[in-house]
Amino acid sequence: MTSSTQSLEQTLASEDPRDAKTGNVLLQAHGLQRYYPITGGPFKRHIGDVQAVDGVDLRIERGKTLGLVGESGCGKSTLGRLLIGLDQPTAGSIYFDLPEDAAAEVADLEATPAEERTDDEERRLTELRSQYEINSLSGKARKQFRRNAQFVFQNPTASLNPRKLIRDAISRPLELHTDVPQDQLDDRIVELLEQVGLGGDFLYRYPHMLSGGQKQRVAVARAIATNPDFIVLDEPTSALDVSVQAQILNLLDDLQDELGLTYLCISHDLSVIRHLSDDIHVMYLGRIAEKADRTTIFSEPKHPYTEALLSSSPAIETGQSIHLEGDVPDPEDPPTGCRFHTRCHKVESFCGWNGKDLYNLLKRLEDRDEHARRVFGAIDDAEYDGFDATFTFASGADVDDVARLLDGDNSLQAHKPALFDAITDVTVRGNALDVSFEPTAVPVCESVAPGHEVACFLYDGE
């Protein structure tokens, strides 16, 4: 028995992929974008895109945990799937396991827009991509990447095949990705089960015979079976009770220390994120709103969305109470400028207002404000073109009167002064009204302090 265990250890040691690796930056992503096309009509014409992930840059260092937090539908799970190669980005690149100098070079080259790169730079980038970019890797290297990057899903009941034994669930990745000989497979599986706090008596059980926490442990055992460097944890504890959640969080902590794992932890639960992560990225509607380390995010949040998120979490004491208005906007047609401006409590005129926001405001106030009711009731048609909008009114409506409403001080304006401040021009054309808004670019992540980046116009130029 001892000899077999020894040879097993040797096999494992010789094939441990980490031995050969020196990279400090485990994962680096540039301009990641994932649009899901929407088709319609008899010929399945492309009529729009759901902008699930739109322009995300991130960097995860070896042995660290990156926390990704945001409301449901903000694209955090899509981002996790992209980073592990379960889904292809529509634009952008993901580099895995880069040496420090290559990482800096890639960052430099990727920062230059494609049309401004010289031929030399282009060639060098292609070379680097074929070496490190996960979607450009060749067959063997890609298989190596697959082994090095694993995923733990949210719902353990759904991610374990109910007709397969626990042994089969864990042996599959071992057979596919490692050279553990058949006769030592069971030993290795028991070893893995023991590592996650279960034991050999779980080998021949079916998933339904396990509790939620035990199932999630099996899912973790399956993920570490191939000796990965990187594991994406997609809401690893949201289906579990608090007491079981605590056990799983401890297990993940221990495994990270023991195996030197790097995690990307996706969760909507801020207290879980705070517990596990070194760095935290806050996501809103496909974009990253704020990046900082754990203490900074919780002690000095800068982005208004982060503030709102913190204040609404009952487990976190912030001393303020911010309520977000309305629902998360449709990612098919996200707001212009800063995507958060429609719900922001610190919103200013330069945040990217457009005609659609005006229309939605009137609609929302229809039964609360008499001006809104009058204007909204008379609108026949509305057309939007970027920051310009044209409202057509039912014949007989007093368009001049409406134009005056948008211009002067009144109860309507008091509801959202920033929106009305953003109006640069109102022109009356017969029954139609042209309204122009202040054009605004998209906020990008700017550094406000070392290691702290915020994508918000309020911190521009600081």
Binding site: E71, S243, A246, D269, L270, H275, S312, P314, I316, D327
Partner: protein, 427 residues
């Protein structure tokens, strides 16, 4: 309603609050589920009170029996396989008390009203309680709403159940006039159990104008109740199907359906678990606003102790089908007594635990077909004593309004030396 006499209450099995009159009393509730492996003892002697206009939170892990306790209020537990070997849920009725005729006696807890056992009611009597006196909001609004009906159609059903007579009266049809054929047909149309032919008949030329009036009145009420749950554009929302609404909006629709009849007790079974934190905080605020507006009592079921602080007046901590601790919310946060409650608090990741280990609770819930004879928590308890597995501790009042079922706090008041040490450790 005089609450001043509550101090005289002779029954002492539960907490007595001097402030508010009693609404419901659960007494020694036992619930077993018969399975082929034996009876699962899901509830074992649960006793607690719900007072008027207060929020009681039932807290515990999955499988601790909090949902079946709440469902028992409305006879929503299927029997069989469920079975109640003992226990009563006494709920204040609108009748005068039989034994004292409204003067107030021990039988009716000095309220002068009869307390009926909800478990003993016939299905017809129960139907009068559901929605009207006790309403329920479920965990997953997506599943609780009918995907093939518009919001208006679903809310209208509650409106018709609860405001049937008023609507007929306002439409100019005397509900009592059963001999009049028109009235009878319209009465059938405005009934919640209307059939397709009632709808067809109501389109007849003679009835159509009245039918339209009824429709308009129902619509008005639907929109009104939706507006009270702070739904913007209730007119538009009422025309939508559930899948067109966000999770928070769906839960608002559920809440408005529950509030149509202004029930005395609203049971909310993890109403925000399926929602985002930002939406959750708004729903919770909405519910406490509505509680003030409607004077409703809340029975709030949750597994999240961090949420309880914001909403509840009193907390009942349940473990494996038994009550571990009953307490005012501040007392529970300042001085949790039961080792299980400590475990729950220690499981929550906080700023202090960052980077370190969470204490949590080791092990998992015992098999309820064969639970420990004594304290059910003894298999996982960090402070287990020799007699814990054999002797049932029973609820003991440790300070006013704070009861605990644990041998660390003996009923005779003698304090084992261990307790003090643990308490400081816990802080």
């Amino acid at each position: 309603m005089d609450s001043g006499h509550n101090a005289k209450m002779s029954d002492s099995s539960s907490v007595e609050s001097p402030r508010k009159p009693l609404l419901a009393r659960v007494e020694d509730l036992n619930l077993h589920f018969d399975t082929k492996y034996g009876a699962v003892q899901a509830l074992d002697g649960i006793s607690f009170d719900v007072f008027e206009q207060e929020t009681v939170a039932l807290v515990g892990e999955t499988g601790c029996g909090k949902s079946v306790t709440a469902r028992s209020f409305l006879q929503l537990v299927e029997t069989p396989p469920g079975r109640y070997p003992a226990g009563e849920i006494r709920f204040k009725s609108e009748r005068e008390c039989d034994s004292c005729g409204g003067a107030g006696c021990a039988e009716c807890y000095d309220s002068g009203r009869a307390f009926d056992d909800l478990l003993a009611m016939s299905s017809g009597e129960m139907q009068g309680i559901r929605g009207d006196r006790i309403a329920m909001v479920f965990q997953d609004p997506q599943q609780a709403l009918n995907p093939s009906l518009t919001v208006e159609n679903q809310v209208a059903e509650s409106v018709l159940v609860n405001h049937h007579e008023e609507i007929l009266e306002e439409a100019g049809i005397a509900p009592g006039k059963v001999d009049d054929l028109t009235s009878r047909l319209l009465d059938a149309y405005a009934s919640p159990s209307r059939k397709w032919y009632n709808r067809v008949i109501a389109e007849a030329p003679l009835l159509r104008s009245k039918k339209k009036r009824i429709d308009a009145l129902v619509h008005e009420r639907v929109v009104d109740i939706l507006r009270r749950t702070q739904i913007a554009n209730p007119e538009e929302v009422s025309r939508k199907y559930p899948h067109e609404l966000s999770g928070g909006m769906q839960q608002r629709v559920m809440i408005s359906m529950a509030l149509v009849a202004e029930p005395d007790l609203l049971i909310a079974d993890e109403p925000t678990t399926a929602l985002d934190v930002t939406i959750q905080s708004r729903i919770i605020e909405l519910m406490s606003d509505l509680q003030e507006e409607f004077n409703t009592s809340f029975l709030y079921i949750t597994h999240d102790l961090s949420l309880v602080e914001d909403i509840a007046d009193r907390v009942i901590v349940m473990y494996a089908g038994a009550i571990a601790e009953v307490s005012e919310v501040e007392q529970l946060y300042d001085n949790p007594l039961h080792p299980y409650t400590w475990g729950l608090f220690n499981s929550i990741p906080t700023a202090d635990t960052v980077g370190g280990r969470l204490q949590g609770i080791d092990g998992s819930i015992p098999d309820l077909t064969n639970p420990p004879e004594g304290c059910r928590f003894c298999t996982r308890c960090p402070e287990v004593l020799d007699h814990c597995p054999d002797v049932d501790p029973g609820l003991v009042e440790v300070e006013e309004g704070h009861q605990v079922a644990c041998h660390l706090y003996p009923a005779d008041g003698s304090e084992p030396s261990k307790v003090a040490a643990i308490e400081t450790d816990n802080d």
